[in-house]
Amino acid sequence: MDAVERAITLPATPREVWPALTEPRELSVWFGAAVDLDVRPGGRGVFRWPDGTERPAVVEAVEPERRLCFRWLPFQRTAAGGTTALPATRVEITLDAVPGGTRVRVVEREPFALGSRRASTGGGLLARIGT
């Protein structure tokens, strides 16, 4: 898979975890950035990092207590006021109830997949990093 994929099991129910993903005040506690996010499909967001960079995002999908998807816009604003182009990756966070808590899975995917045939075009390398 041409994506970064991470997962963690938390000792809480999906209902308890969901606000941590959707309340900007709570998101800001763990995301590493001050988050301003309108959590509904089409909602806009801005993530502001302590170093002064800012990155906008758009919410793509919301399934309460189950799934949140947002897409980074393809640029960020630097502290100096410049702009840097970045891949418009899509972030998908899913919650699954498991014995003892909630499995939180994050997939951040490239704007497109390189295709199923790995050859030596990089798909294989990305896949190794991503899993």
Binding site: R6, I8, W30, L86, P87, I129
Partner: protein
């Protein structure tokens, strides 16, 4: 606008035909535009244009051999993409660890 190396590469690869071209190049090894076009559903001119765009992004290198130009895949930019992906993964590791701390602390508070 300044462009991060990873972004330049993704932009170059955003075109389906260019991905076909680079895949063919990786399978056939160093080739000319004519040689690549033989196995693709596009003209030699189109392949040459795409090879030019891929070369601009640093994904392929062009070497003149007599009257021909031979193209081959350049591994360096893919290393940039891999390091960008690795950086992304490390950030999510940090975030998820912080999320766990936050959720555990929030639950403890609720139980008080």
């Amino acid at each position: 606008m300044k462009r991060a190396p990873a972004d330049r590469i993704f932009t170059a690869l955003a075109d389906a035909t260019r991905r076909q071209v680079i895949r063919a190049l990786s399978e056939q090894g160093p080739s000319t535009a004519t040689g690549l076009a033989a196995g693709l559903p596009v003209t030699r001119q189109a392949v040459a244009k795409h090879l030019g765009a891929l070369a601009d992004a640093g994904l392929v290198t062009a070497t003149r051999r007599g009257r021909e130009v031979v193209y081959q895949i350049s591994p360096r930019p893919l290393t940039d993409v891999v390091s960008w992906m690795a950086d992304l993964g490390a950030r999510w590791d940090e975030r998820l660890a912080a999320l766990r701390d936050h959720v555990v602390a929030a639950r403890r508070q609720e139980r008080r």
